[in-house]
């Protein structure tokens, strides 16, 4: 009798939970403020514990990274050697262009682009699956972080803040399948949109098949989106043309290594 009651109780609890979950899922899909509030409060509540956990775990993550770096060391050395020789060739050319640019700016009275203000933050959590690629940072509204702000590190763009709590925030990385960012090709100044995918490939879309895009072209943010313009994103790694398709399929290799992010800068707009 006791076992029967217990079994019956389990069915009732499961049924209640299923109904409750379906209601929550629907509310979450409708992006209700209530759910968003709870989410923000939960992230804030766990922030101090998460920070402590992260500082405890970070030596392990650093160790994993160092193993990976060591394995890739030879290939990286060869790549850097190649890049160095290319940069040396470009250096003298760029100095001449800079001198010419400065004198022309002076002549026309055009000011240099102003640098943006930033907030430094530390990664305290990760969320990685086929459908999402996010990080949690230890800075929030109390530090001036707002939803929609861009997140960068020394290599380039990391992602965009999608949820800002009081003391922490969630950032959607650019390889997340739901990420869409307006960009420019540096050399041709053409506009496009970069999107992530489930296999973590970043693709540049809406570039006409008539445009010439080359492997190695640099991609930067466009000034027309929420983010400031001219932030480095990555380099074109593959260009494909599909017959009958009006757009090219372009793969972009981001400059930032998302597996190694520890400290970031949030751009205040």
């Amino acid at each position: 009798m006791v076992t029967l009651n217990r079994r019956f109780r389990n069915y009732i609890v499961l049924a209640i939970i299923i109904v409750l979950c379906l209601i929550i899922i629907t509310a979450s899909f409708k992006e209700s403020d209530f759910i968003k509030n709870i989410k923000t409060r939960t992230v804030d509540f766990f922030k101090p514990i998460q920070e402590k956990f992260h500082s405890f775990i970070s030596p392990f993550t650093r160790f994993i990274n160092s193993i990976r770096d060591y394995i890739n060391l030879r290939q990286k050395y060869l790549d850097l050697q190649e890049e160095n020789s290319l940069l040396r060739q470009k250096y003298s050319e760029d100095i001449n262009i800079k001198v010419e640019n400065d004198s022309l700016r002076k002549l026309l009275g055009v000011k240099l682009r102003e640098d943006y203000e930033t907030i430094t933050a530390r990664v305290i959590g990760y969320s990685e699956s086929k459908w999402q690629s996010e990080i949690i940072l230890n800075a929030g509204k109390s530090d001036g972080v707002l939803e929609g702000m861009g997140v960068i590190n020394e290599d380039g763009l990391i992602g965009v803040v999608i949820l800002a709590g009081n003391n922490s925030c969630n950032v959607r990385i650019i390889d997340d399948p739901r990420s869409n960012i307006g960009v420019r090709i540096l050399s041709s100044r053409k506009l496009g949109i970069i999107q992530g995918s489930q296999d973590r490939k970043v693709t540049l879309n809406y570039i006409s098949s008539e445009e010439s895009v080359f492997k190695g072209d640099i991609i930067i943010t466009s000034e027309y989106g929420n983010l400031p313009g001219e932030i480095l994103i990555g380099r074109v790694s593959k260009v494909n043309e599909n017959p009958g398709d009006p757009y090219k399929t372009i793969e972009v290799e981001p400059f930032a290594d998302f597996k190694k992010i520890e400290y970031v800068l949030i751009i205040k707009q």
Partner: protein
């Protein structure tokens, strides 16, 4: 005393949840895919009973969704279902031994991946079949490895003697 053990297990679950967020989610970027929370919930069902498994599954899933999830409620639903599936597997005649625990973890992980993909598919997310195939192959094996760490912790914290742990005495809890 029994309620103390439940609190203790909930505390272990919270620690594992935080470990999942700060470490196991990070190593997923290297295609090493563990689900620590799911393994703890399976252990809770086996050592504490279905009722607690379902409740803990819901609580842990909700927290995980609220902290790092994109659709709130999906993990809560899946972990609760996982707890129920484990209880059904045990009552259908699985002996409580480590070999069958491994099989339960393997089976529940596979079911979990399929349910998650199905829910995402129903909510209009596209599915990458190659990735899913890889996950179906590697994740259960890695979860079984975790099981050998988590299960003894939960069984010791249940105040359970070794002979009971390997026997059938706890079957009436399910």
């Amino acid at each position: 005393m029994k309620i103390f053990y439940k609190f203790l297990h909930f505390f272990i679950l919270i620690i594992c949840l935080l470990l999942q967020i700060v470490f196991f989610e990070y190593i997923k970027t290297f295609s090493i895919n563990f689900d620590l929370v799911m393994v703890v919930i399976i252990a809770v069902v086996i050592f504490d009973g279905t009722f607690w498994g379902i409740l803990f599954g819901f609580a842990a899933g909700m927290m995980l969704d609220l902290l790092i999830g994109d659709i709130i409620g999906v993990s809560a639903l899946i972990y609760s279902l996982n707890a129920f599936i484990v209880s059904k597997l045990i009552t259908s005649g699985f002996k409580l031994k480590y070999l069958t625990y491994s099989f339960i973890v393997f089976l529940v992980t596979e079911i979990n991946i399929i349910i998650v993909s199905l829910i995402r598919y129903l909510f209009n997310f596209s599915s990458n079949w190659m990735q899913m195939g890889l996950e179906l192959t590697t994740k259960p094996v890695l979860n079984i490895v975790l099981m050998f760490i988590i299960f003894p912790v939960i069984s010791i914290s249940s105040g359970m003697a070794r002979e009971t742990e390997f026997g059938f005495k706890y079957k009436n809890k399910i």
